[in-house]
């Protein structure tokens, strides 16, 4: 058995310096690719690289092993520069079976590296993947990319066959071989991985040993055999000092909500009904019952939001989360929150639509639903985090706005943010702002629809407060008494007040900030999860000589219309790339009467930087 590698091991093979690498692990759903990818990401983070990841797993039901439908992938981009996206096309592709090969090979860049488990390329597996002959031997492939066919399964079992484990168990370890091999190839620090294996399988010492041995076998295979001639190194990136952890959007969102509720001095009540890709928020919160968080898995989405509204009425911070179809169901009840002017946070982790659509894919097609998915004039505030870690900050802001203005706030996340991970510079809780609000001071002349002069918020006097017993509801209320009112002029007045409250939120928000060129040829306006692609494209376009600005809106309602006007005026062309058929672009056109041009992609996937640049350049060239 090969020698134990360690940080001090002298590397025998030459090291090639590279700026950035995109690597994708792909295999069957059962092959542990998400685990492998995540752990490789952790190693890269510890190595000091900047990173971005993209997990991509199949539809919700487990497909039969070895089929195209069952392929699961995980891509990570690690770099010594700032990283905005998981990368368009991988430099390195690791495939555990023919199906994974078939689904992913077209993405591998020319000249890239393919590592394949040759043991899995049996005739029957190849057929299952819809191919005929052994694709690894195909000349057109070997000409285009560098193919490393490695008998991964065999080497895995060989390295632990003396342990007397069942064959199935042994084979299951093979992802650690791949991880070991890749860790070697990219000079990743591996101490932490070894500790992690120990912790993860703590219940079964045999598995700790097996996986450790297999992992090392993979590392040693790279180091010892003649197959690979050199390793690669990506230098640490210039990253802001601090303590970091890997953070997904869903987890960041959950933590942000919790921290905000706590900083507001409120209990949090989270009413939800499971739905992909929002369920993890429920799972995360349910695990922290010691943080004054109540999670309520309701019988449906309507009950979930209604329970949250009831909790808000009672003085808690009511929160609900779902994805598009569930949000559609909540529309009527959200209208009740608008009318009763209760604080409420609604999270929509968007996915491909319409209807059930593409449940596991990402899309930004619910902005219009957020704005208009209810009867009547029913305005609410809308915020969209741009990156996974921003989910924390935006959730925090959302809570603040909901409480201060007594309005529902919708947070628009999406599948890409939700599952994507990013290094999060861990904040100090004690330095987060205090956002507690005091609503009602006087005790004379109280009625439930009195208003704070600045925010127009009504007083949040909660049951249990003696002397202020009152009734609220979904019927229109009199501005002056809070009683039910059918008065025509009063209705218009109240309608305008509800709208004005949302406009006033602008006063709390950071002014929009352009990245890239402050003026010039082109302004790209984006929102939500496309941030990375737009930022990357902006950098590259500027580098290519096209003066490009990038404005990424966080708050989508209200909009700082006057400031946007001033910014837009500084550019010749305005484009609005979105993962939908053009939604923000409609709002900008309507509000600003500016000929902003949509760049749409509705493919259940993020923008590819290359494609985005090409489309944007074509628009600039054609003048539109």
């Amino acid at each position: 058995m090969a020698e134990v590698p360690s940080e001090t091991t002298v590397r025998e093979k030459p090291v090639e310096q590279v700026d950035a690498v995109v690597i994708r692990f792909a295999g069957d759903s059962g092959d542990g690719m998400q685990l492998t990818g995540t752990q490789f990401t952790n190693e890269s983070a510890i190595a000091g690289n900047d990173i971005a990841t993209l997990p991509d797993y199949p539809a919700e039901i487990r497909a039969p092993a070895g089929t195209l439908a069952g392929v699961s992938g995980f891509q990570v981009n690690f770099s010594q520069a700032r990283v905005f996206t998981p990368g368009d096309r991988p430099d390195v592709l690791v495939v555990m079976n023919p199906a994974a090969f078939s689904v992913n090979i077209a993405d591998l860049r020319d000249g890239g590296i393919l590592v394949a488990d040759s043991d899995a390329f049996t005739l029957s597996n190849i057929r299952k993947a819809g191919m005929d002959g052994d694709p690894l031997a195909d000349a057109s492939l070997t000409k285009r990319v560098r193919v490393f066919a490695v008998p991964l399964t065999r080497m895995t079992t060989d390295s632990i066959k003396d342990m007397g484990l069942p064959n199935k168990t042994m084979v299951r370890c093979k992802n650690f071989f791949a991880l070991g091999l890749c860790s070697w190839m990219f000079n990743r620090p591996i101490e932490q991985t070894l500790t992690w294996i120990g912790a993860k399988f703590a219940k079964s010492p045999a598995l700790v040993e097996a996986n450790t041995r297999v992992f090392k076998a993979g590392w040693n295979f790279g180091e010892t055999t003649e197959v690979f001639v050199h390793t690669y190194e990506v230098k640490p990136a210039d990253i802001e000092p601090g303590t970091y952890t890997n953070m997904t959007g869903n987890r960041a969102l959950a933590l942000g909500l919790m921290a905000a509720a706590s900083k507001a001095g409120k209990s949090m009540f989270f009413g939800s009904y499971p739905i992909t890709p929002a369920s993890d928020i429920l799972h995360e919160l349910a695990a922290h019952k010691n943080f004054d968080v109540t999670t309520f898995q309701a019988e449906d989405e309507i009950a979930a939001v209604c329970a949250a509204i009831g909790a808000s009425f009672g003085g808690a911070l009511g929160v609900t989360a779902s994805s598009g179809p569930g949000i559609a169901l909540k529309g009527e009840a959200i209208g009740l929150a608008v009318m009763t002017e209760l604080p409420l946070v609604i999270v929509n982790v968007q996915r491909g639509g319409p209807s059930t659509g593409l449940p596991t894919k990402t899309e930004q097609a619910d902005l219009m639903q957020a704005l208009y998915g209810r009867n009547g004039e029913s305005p609410l505030a809308i915020v969209a985090p741009a990156t996974p870690v921003e989910c924390f900050d935006m959730a925090f802001e959302a809570v603040h706005v909901a409480l201060k203005y007594m309005v529902p706030v919708m947070i628009l996340s999406d599948g890409y943010l939700a599952n994507g991970a990013q290094p999060w510079k861990i904040p100090d809780y004690d330095e987060l702002p205090d956002i507690s609000v005091r609503y009602w001071k006087g005790d004379l002349g109280f009625h439930p629809y009195l208003r704070n002069e600045d925010t127009l918020a009504r007083p949040w006097v909660i049951p249990g407060t003696p002397g202020f017993e009152h009734r609220i509801g979904g019927l229109e209320k009199d501005y002056d008494s809070g009683d039910i009112s059918y008065d025509p002029v009063n209705h218009e007045r109240m309608t305008r007040v509800r709208a004005e409250k949302i406009e006033r939120v602008n006063e709390d928000l950071d002014p929009p900030r352009v990245e890239g060129s402050e003026l010039g040829e082109l302004l790209m306006v984006g929102w939500g999860s496309t941030y990375g692609a737009l930022a990357q494209a902006t950098e590259e376009l500027n580098a290519e000589g096209l003066a490009t600005g990038h404005l990424h809106l966080r708050w989508l309602n209200p909009l700082p219309v006057e400031e946007l006007k001033r910014i837009f005026a500084r550019y010749k062309t305005i484009v609005v790339p979105e993962l939908n058929m053009g939604q923000l672009v409609r709002i900008l056109r309507e509000r600003l009467l500016v000929d902003a041009i949509p760049v749409s992609r509705v493919q259940g996937q993020p923008f590819k930087v290359g494609e985005l640049k090409a489309r944007v350049k074509a628009i600039v060239e054609e003048g539109r």
Binding site: T243, S262, N290, F313, G318, A333, G464, G467, G473
Partner: protein
């Protein structure tokens, strides 16, 4: 304006809003009984919340000088659940109708019943949609002519009590708008019950479904049609001189027997804790059988909000006081210097 508890009276529970039901509506009587019973409960007014959906009945909270929430159609039970879960110390009441509670709100109702939060539900069953001016409801009887059933209702109605029992309610009772004392008694029982209390109140809508409960509430007919239940007591009904009882047939079928010719031991004894008996009673059908009034089921089961609170307690003792910095740094971390 202070929390201290002066002795309250009925008037303290009357709000300043004009009551806007039709003249003769059964809702008035129910409101009056609730306002009468409230002071007895010794719950500070500010700790009482009435939550309703939409319907004539759902206007109820406006008339109670307590906290109140007149919400949207069918969702009062869901809203009340969130409220009670986050504020277990409040006395939470749901007022709903046969449309609000059993049609659009049916699902939330049955889920609340199974979860068993300590909420009191008053379902005003007038077997019609009052507020929308007279369409049939899920409790309207076959053949009823309404605006939406000009040829008569073809939909078999729910029996409200059976449905609640099937949904594992821990407390199910039935009473009548006009039986003021009985109604009051049921309210007291509901409050005393720990867990969800469900009271079906048969309520006359003189405008769109007048006399629907004439048999149970009518002067001439009420005696022979009311089977008033008392825990541990035999199932007897009818007038003094024509006393009848309900007995159990061998095949578990119900049998009406005349007490003239039957020894009392042969008559079933009411047992609020017997689930099968409760269902048996809920299946008694008019006109062959009398209508059971009273507490049909009352049994103990853990209260949801208490269980939830206990989990939070457990979490606190297992995982410790909330420490965000610990939480943030709980996973793998690395430091950039």
């Amino acid at each position: 304006m202070s929390g201290e508890q002066a002795k309250l009276s009925r008037k303290d529970f009357v709000s300043d809003q004009d009551v806007r039901w039709c003249p003769g509506c059964g809702d008035y009587a129910i409101l009056a009984q609730v306002q009468r019973v409230m002071p007895e409960l010794n719950i500070p007014r500010e700790n009482i919340v009435f939550v309703s959906g939409i319907g004539c009945s759902s206007r109820f909270p406006y008339y109670m000088n307590t906290y109140g929430f007149h919400s949207i159609h069918g969702r009062a039970t869901a809203i009340a659940s969130g409220l009670k879960l986050s504020r277990p110390e409040l006395s939470v009441w749901v007022v709903t109708g046969d449309g609000d509670g059993l049609s659009i709100g049916g699902n939330h109702l049955i889920h609340l019943l199974r979860r068993n939060l300590d909420i009191n539900i008053l379902l005003f069953n007038n077997e019609i949609y009052g507020l929308t001016k007279g369409q049939y409801s899920p409790t309207s009887r076959i053949g009823l002519i309404t605006k939406s059933s000009p040829l008569g209702v073809a939909d078999h109605p729910f029996d409200t009590v059976s449905l609640a029992l099937g949904a594992d309610a821990t407390f199910v009772a039935r009473t009548v708008d006009t039986e003021t004392r009985h109604l009051q008694e049921m309210l007291r029982r509901a409050v005393a019950h720990k867990g969800t209390s469900f009271i079906e109140i048969l309520q006359n809508c003189p405008i769109f479904n007048d006399g629907a409960f004439e048999d149970v509430s009518g002067k001439g007919s009420r005696i022979q049609n009311q089977l008033v239940l008392e825990h541990g007591q035999p199932l007897l009904f009818g007038s003094e001189d024509a006393r009848m009882g309900v007995a159990l047939g061998k095949d578990m079928s119900p049998q009406v027997v005349s007490m003239d010719s039957t020894p009392e031991e042969e008559v079933l004894l009411h047992d609020e804790t017997n689930e099968a008996l409760g269902f048996f009673l809920s299946r008694l059908e008019r006109p062959e059988f009398p209508v059971p009034l009273g507490v049909i089921r009352a049994m103990d089961r853990p209260i949801y909000e208490k269980e939830v609170a206990a989990q939070a307690e457990r979490a606190l003792s297992d995982m410790g006081q909330p420490d965000f910095n610990k939480l943030f740094t709980g996973g793998d971390t690395w430091t950039v210097e």
